[in-house]
Symmetry: C2
Subunit: 357 residues, 2 copies
């Protein structure tokens, strides 16, 4: 295979929480489990975290050591020879890399920053970007996408919505000729899990604690419970797939904080279920978006989405609606979304090299 | 746009039943409704049917006239100046076209023929092929695909399974690096519709007649009721997505003919539903496939698929299972599958032309 003769894709990783560590694990100790990853040749030349320090090495970071330090001590050790004192923005601006992988958490308070600045720095240097952080695409979609196009580089973000489930790629690569008229989905795992547990009799607070124990709800679950995460995701989808220019403040938003056991029992008597539903639709020449607690009737494709499951219903002009359901995803799914995007970058590298020969 | 300056894609249409006429309608009288079709420049240079005659014209068939003749008289008129006496195989071998569009019905009795011969004739002439007929891909997948690859042409068949819902394209273009471990789906609309109506109290025969009245069940529904159509579809998927080499005779197959109202009531008491489920899985280094009547538990992603709905659950090594649901599709969806494939051919034509300049 040709891939054995080309240099690896040099990656700078910003953020190394669950997803970052999962990615490093798949690329190192778990690699042999996945034969399909054979064609993916990646070298991580830098990892920067918010509070755990940073490592960088022109010949590739010692990933097994880095992973073990993060998992044992919670931060990179001072003895690590790859340890550097730079912060994320500095590394994005100065390190020699091919792809920036942005994995820092969503910030509503700072309207997508500092991730927007990280990504802009990489794009301005004509470097590709893969992001699992939805903030930049909920707050600065047009700006960043225009910049990427003008520099001729990839700006990919499949894992920002429904983790690795290929909703963005599906709409882009497989709905040729279709015009997307409306989107409707369950896009936040934490609230869907909490509502499912509440149906079984738990109080909201108990269900949230269970989600935290299982590692998928944040220590501060406010962004999930108040519908901000869902609002950011429907913005990403509307911006990417319907040509909208929305940010989360434009979304008519409701959370699940006030849903009670009685509400759930009331709708259950009719066979319905309460869900936090995201919607985007075309109206008066523009696109509007909404996040609301709704009673979903039995038989509706979103009715059976339980636990951490996510689902998106896509209505187009040329076809019956398509629903993509992700069955109980976890951290591995976000990792896969990033890997899939890295594959796309790798393939375009191969094409470029063929072209320039 | 560049597309305005290139000659149109010359298409030979074999078969002109519901799907063929739907395609002609979308390309003519309904065209203005679908702005996304702008880039698709198609000229139909021949239409051949089993019992309705054939028309051909080097400068493009008069489609409005052809459509009106088929819809009024049931066959091409002898006065039609485009009328020719050739049959489908002759046209496939002799007419000057870029793409063969194969829309003849599935034949289990003739193991995919005569569609296999139509397609082989086109491929041997290095012409692209788009097919909505699943027979060739259930009976001769490897042969035909190898031939297409050796001639450097497209052999596309998105609409053979789940109509236009992009399950083949999804797996090919958006699951990079993943290995598909198993497939599970509801793939036959007629049986799913019949089971849904039987749940409401209709007898099997009444439900079949209703499906025929509504135009989606065949006059002879045997292939659907006995599970042959479903078996052909799971073969197409296993062959295309899991590297299998199966044909419908290899499938452990069961139909719905013996399902009774009592069976449905029994499972309904537990909250389950009876469905005709197709499965493919990896076993002992190979792939095996099965079609069986199963009780699907409430909460399972296939549970809520009602009426003519179809769904496919894809299990991979790298991700949580993905389910694609098609919500009550009709003839238009098969038409869209063909259009999507024609887009793919058009795009590669544009690339070739760019390359040869």
């Amino acid at each position: 295979m040709d891939s054995s003769r080309r240099p690896p894709l040099r990656v700078l990783l910003l953020g190394c929480g669950n997803v970052g560590r999962g990615l490093v694990r798949v690329l190192t100790v778990e690699r042999d489990r996945y034969p399909g990853l054979e064609g993916l040749d990646i070298q991580i030349v830098g990892i920067s975290t918010g509070t755990r320090g940073a490592v960088a090495s022109d010949s590739g970071v010692d990933l097994v050591r880095a992973l073990s330090e993060l998992e044992r001590g919670g931060h990179f050790s001072n003895q690590n020879p790859d340890r550097v004192e730079s912060d994320s923005l500095q590394l994005a601006r100065e390190l020699d890399y091919d792809v920036l992988v942005e994995l820092t958490p969503l910030s509503i308070e700072h309207r997508g920053e500092p991730a927007i600045s990280h990504i802009r720095s990489a794009l301005e240097r004509s470097r590709h970007v893969v992001s699992a952080n939805k903030g930049p695409f909920a707050y600065a979609y047009r700006d960043l996408m225009n910049l990427a196009v003008s520099r001729g580089v990839h700006l990919l973000h499949e894992s920002t919505v429904m983790d690795g489930a290929p909703v963005l790629n599906l709409a882009r690569h497989t709905l040729k000729g279709c015009r997307i008229l409306a989107l409707e989905g369950i896009l936040n795992s934490t609230t869907n899990y909490v509502l499912s547990r509440m149906e079984e009799g738990l109080a909201l607070q108990e269900a949230v604690e269970l989600a935290q124990l299982q590692g998928f709800a944040e220590a501060d679950p406010t962004l999930d419970l108040q519908g901000w995460d869902a609002a950011a995701k429907i913005c990403v989808l509307a911006n990417a797939l319907m040509g909208a220019d929305l940010n989360p403040s434009d979304v008519d938003r409701q959370g699940i904080e006030r849903v009670t056991a009685e509400d759930l029992q009331d709708v259950d008597r009719r066979g319905d279920r309460i869900k936090l539903i995201c919607r985007a639709s075309r109206q008066d020449g523009g696109v509007s978006a909404k996040v609301a607690v709704e009673a979903v009737p039995r038989g509706h494709p979103l009715w059976s989405v339980s636990g951490t499951g996510n689902a998106l219903r896509i209505t187009t002009d040329l076809m019956a609606p398509i629903v993509v359901v992700q069955d109980n995803p976890g951290v591995k799914d976000t990792v896969y979304g990033v890997l899939g995007d890295l594959f796309t970058v790798t393939e375009s590298f191969d094409l470029e090299r063929k072209g320039s020969r």
